[in-house]
């Protein structure tokens, strides 16, 4: 029974990796830089998901710590791009 759960979690991780490969199309083609940043953000979140699923499937709880650090670094990437390209003179309200 436990083996079924492990196999299902590994399969889920593999499917998440496949969907991130789909998102790579938007990162390569995306008309603006912001589309690319959103795509990279989604891929980073998917990697967090893969790490969490593999932590259970391979029975290595230390991967949860790696997932926490990866989530925070992913947030820093998006926030730095968003803040440094912000143009206050371009907003009227």
């Amino acid at each position: 029974m436990n083996e079924i759960v492990t196999t299902a979690l590994v399969a889920a991780a593999a499917l998440v990796v496949l969907t991130s490969v789909i998102v790579l199309y938007r990162v390569a083609v995306g008309p603006t830089t912001y589309d690319r940043v959103i795509g990279v953000n989604l891929i980073g979140t998917s990697i967090v998901m893969v790490l969490v699923l593999l932590a259970a499937a391979l029975d290595r709880p230390a991967y949860l710590d790696i997932a926490i650090v990866y989530a925070l670094l992913n947030f820093v990437l998006s926030l730095v791009v968003g803040r440094f390209t912000y143009d206050p003179s371009g907003v009227e309200w």
């Binding site: 889920a12 989604l42 259970a56 968003g82 912000y86």
Partner: protein, 104 residues
């Protein structure tokens, strides 16, 4: 047995919502709607996966770390999406509208 079924079901829901986010990023017309798809669907996908893993481990240490990770993801994903879309709006990225224009 029931626990295994719940774990597999939660992981499947997580994979489904990640797929929805990927399709939204591919097919929606502009930056703002793509950001909408990513934030909603991917936050829910990660939440379901983390719940599945917390149920799988079941020990206090791993459940605590999973909850901390869940709180981080729920707090940081909308913040990052808001920062990116606000920057895009301030740089004049076009908003997708219908033929007649907005508000009609």
């Amino acid at each position: 047995m029931i626990l295994s079924a719940v774990i597999i079901l939660l992981a499947a829901i997580g994979v489904f919502f990640t797929f929805v986010a990927a399709v939204g990023v591919l097919r929606l017309p502009d930056v703002y709607s793509r950001s909408h798809a990513v934030t909603k669907a991917d936050t829910l996908g990660v939440g379901c996966s983390i719940l599945a893993v917390a149920l799988y481990f079941g020990t206090a240490s791993e459940v605590f770390r999973a909850i901390v990770l869940l709180l981080f993801v729920y707090y940081t994903n909308p913040t990052a999406a808001h920062a990116i879309t606000r920057s895009a709006y301030s740089r004049g990225v076009d908003i997708w509208t219908t033929e007649e224009g907005p508000n009609q």
